[in-house]
Subunit: 232 residues, 2 copies
DNA sequence: ACAAAAGTGTTAGGCCTACACCCATGA
DNA sequence: TCATGGGTGTAGGCCTAACACTTTTGT
């Protein structure tokens, strides 16, 4: 490797460090993942997770949030790192260690990022084979999402602020790939006490008009501090 | 920085990457953590988590296992990465990203590693203030251990292969910092079906002689595949 | 008219929790 | 002999899971 003034030199070899992002959305029926199509080699033309190199003045989480903003325009979504991937040959060019994150975004809030031309939402069942080891990363992200939604109310990050019970149930069923009994789901959710009715049901409401709820974060933190455990 | 033949040069600055290890043990009463005393600056004389720089021909997990072997002599303990720490100034010398792991070891198996002179086991309530951000790393490791032991039978990694129900209960109580009713703990554990009696109770067994059990990993994987969920 | 969506309540079974006594051993 | 540790079973309460009908609207 040529050495010149633009180079940064170290006594021992170092890997590059990147943050990759599995960005989840929900369209009311399916869980979606945002992928970008690579414009350069390696894996040119293949779909991949959004991500990029960490700067020296940011943490990996900040890097992930920066990438998220660049890809979707969102600034305050729920982003969390979940695993580092460091296989020696995971990038054919050079040694790259990536810290993988997942982000939960409301589809309605996504305007389409700067690179929107090459970005697309995919349903979980139509995901193509991905560049690098991104298949593996995605698989692990999905598993983490399943585990986490059982114990923390992160699902609300994927829904509009106001939602119906059926929408919420559809979300849980889509993520966990199971079916719940509608009445039991209602009862369980309401008993938890972390939902508040968004608007009181209008007097002229017909049987057909669903109640609207919103997630009550204060109630949740209050309950959690009392040593309450969310479960599904 | 001086450039010479011993240097490795890159077009963009890169952090160093390390693996740190929170090594848990159990002495029958307390959860213990293995710490090493730093012999060099920075933080010379302070206690720290064992860990070290990743080589270019190993993954971070392999790096963590190498460190574990160097520190304790153990080669097949349960090691799992749980979080990356990348604060810009977490190491005063230079930018270092660390991938933190925890390891569960049987105290009896630990011969004392190469660096044993400067290594010591600490009970959770006697841990001194640590070098770098290792306090924070340790705190998160303890939380992860608590979460994980509720749903996966990792506690057995900390016990001898053969153990009494009371020892098992002590372990759970030490990790979770709670007290269980002895009979309920017995019933729950036995109902799970993941324990087998190590030796049939000898005929001459007195009331005072406890039954010995061992963890039945086959039974566990079998149950898990049937969609069984461990819980505490 | 028919299909689809939403509101609503009960019951049975399983699980969890709390709880007491006896025996053997070692101090 | 006294304190400690270990083995053992039950009853009540709570939670869970299964389950049906009615109303309304859109097609």
């Amino acid at each position: 490797m040529e050495e010149n003034k633009e180079m940064y030199s170290y006594r021992y070899p170092r890997p590059a460090v990147t943050a990759d992002c599995v960005i989840f959305g929900f369209d009311g029926v399916d869980i979606k993942v945002l992928l970008i199509q690579r414009g350069i080699e390696p894996f040119k033309g293949k779909w991949a997770l959004p991500g990029g190199f960490m700067n020296m003045n940011e943490t990996v989480e900040e890097c992930a949030k920066r990438e998220l903003k660049e890809e979707t325009g969102l600034t305050n979504a729920s982003v969390e790192q979940f695993h580092s991937f460091s296989d020696v040959n995971r990038d054919p060019r050079e040694r790259v260690v990536t810290v993988a994150h997942y982000a939960l975004v409301r589809l309605a809030d996504v305007k389409g990022g700067d690179d929107a031309a090459s970005a697309r939402w995919f349903s979980m069942n139509e995901i193509p084979s991905l560049a690098f080891d991104h298949d593996r990363i995605l698989r692990m992200a999905v598993n983490r999402l399943k585990e986490r939604i059982c114990f923390e109310p992160i699902g609300f990050e994927l829904l509009p602020q106001v939602f119906t019970m059926t929408e919420l149930q559809n979300l849980y069923e889509a993520i966990l790939e199971v079916k719940f009994d509608r009445r039991n789901f209602y009862n369980k959710m309401l008993k938890l006490g972390i939902l508040t009715e968004a608007e009181p049901r209008p007097a002229n409401a017909s049987r057909r008009t669903p109640s609207k709820y919103r997630f009550n974060a204060e109630k949740y933190t209050e309950l959690k501090q009392k040593g309450f455990r969310l479960e599904f």
